[in-house]
């Protein structure tokens, strides 16, 4: 019976050992990179949703706070699209909240004639535990986004009773 030369068996064992050493390192590098890209994606999408929410708050006329809050919430939920590409790892922890004199029916002009903005904020958690990327990204990441939207001139005039603005429509 012929047996495999011992030097060849040794070579194969060495190849297997080196592979066993290299493979985990490669997996960690790939998972780390993919996780970092997905994190940047989620952060960008989250910021876009907050930006659009702030702009949407200015769609209703000056002082219509209920409509402004409803419009910004609609824009946030339908832009973030939790059932889409970020499903499974992005959870909104603090829903969109917008504040600003515009919502109270006031236009506060600065010394340079710029109106006070509507400021919207929201927070979310990024967690990859349900995905293979959790091999490397086993911790959760807190996302926080803030956006300002400035009332355009055609939105700065009085339209509702009780609103205070230096301009008349």
């Amino acid at each position: 019976m012929r047996t495999r030369p011992s030097w060849r068996r040794g070579q194969r064992a060495q190849a297997a050992l080196e592979m066993a050493l290299v493979l985990p390192v490669m997996i960690v590098i790939v998972c780390g990179f993919v996780g970092m890209m997905l994190e940047l994606r989620a952060e960008n999408e989250f910021q876009t949703a907050v930006d659009l929410s702030a702009q949407a708050a200015l769609v209703p006329p000056l002082g219509d706070q209920t409509a402004s809050q409803a419009d910004s919430a609609y824009a946030f939920l339908h832009t973030l699209n939790p059932s889409g590409s970020e499903s499974g790892y992005l959870t909104v922890t603090t829903p969109i909240t917008c504040t600003g004199p515009y919502l109270e029916g006031e236009i506060d002009l600065s010394a340079r004639g710029i109106p006070a903005p509507v400021t919207c904020t929201a927070q979310a958690t990024l967690n990859f535990s349900a995905t293979p990327i959790s091999v490397f990204w086993f911790w959760s990441i807190q996302l926080s986004a803030t956006a300002d939207a400035y009332p355009p001139q055609y939105r700065q005039c009085q339209t509702t009773s009780g609103s205070t603005s230096p301009f008349q429509c």
């Binding site: 592979m19 990179f33 960008n44 999408e45 824009a75 832009t79 055609y154």
Partner: protein, 171 residues
């Protein structure tokens, strides 16, 4: 032999990293385009007081933002004549999903498995909201039948959507 093994794993890792990087660039461009498209679509067709969304103006406005980062993927206009059949299927108040776009182009024998096309869609939902979506499959190096995810051969999904209330550019 060990070189072949390690080199194979290295190539696989490199492709995965490159693909993810390209996909991130493409989806970020789609994100920025959707944000710009919403501003164009939500109002101002005809006059500043008009509540009719300017849906057909979105494509021309976002094309300069999208064309280059899409790296070989064709950017299609939802209101172009070559998508009339898909528009008829989806209806006037909605945008297609990435799979609907790929299936449509697959039926037209355009691109492997229908990949390589993204559609810029703007639609009025008929309930006071306007939606802008960029959907389809962008070209990538994912081999056919690879992975348990929502992938097609040589394509990764692009699906960016935004929706806001229709407004006017007047008090």
């Amino acid at each position: 032999m060990e070189f072949a093994l390690v080199f194979g794993v290295f190539l696989l890792a490199l492709m995965a990293i490159l693909d993810t990087w390209i996909w991130t660039i493409e989806t970020d461009a789609a994100d920025a385009s959707v944000e710009q498209g919403i501003g164009v679509a939500m109002s101002a067709q005809g006059s500043a007081t008009s509540l009719t969304p300017a849906l057909t103006d979105v494509y021309a406005n976002v094309l300069p933002l999208l064309q280059q980062p899409m790296l070989g993927t064709t950017v299609e206009n939802w209101y172009a004549s070559n998508l009339a059949a898909l528009r008829g299927e989806i209806g006037p108040n909605a945008c297609p999903t990435a799979d609907q776009v790929a299936d449509y182009f697959n039926d037209l024998h355009s691109g492997y498995d229908g990949v390589g096309h993204v559609v810029v869609c703007a639609a009025d939902d008929g309930d006071g909201h306007v939606t802008v979506a960029i959907t389809g499959y962008a070209l990538s190096m994912v081999p056919p039948g690879f992975g348990p995810f929502n992938w097609r051969g040589w394509g990764l999904p692009i699906s960016e959507t935004a929706s806001v209330n229709v407004g006017t550019y007047s008090p």
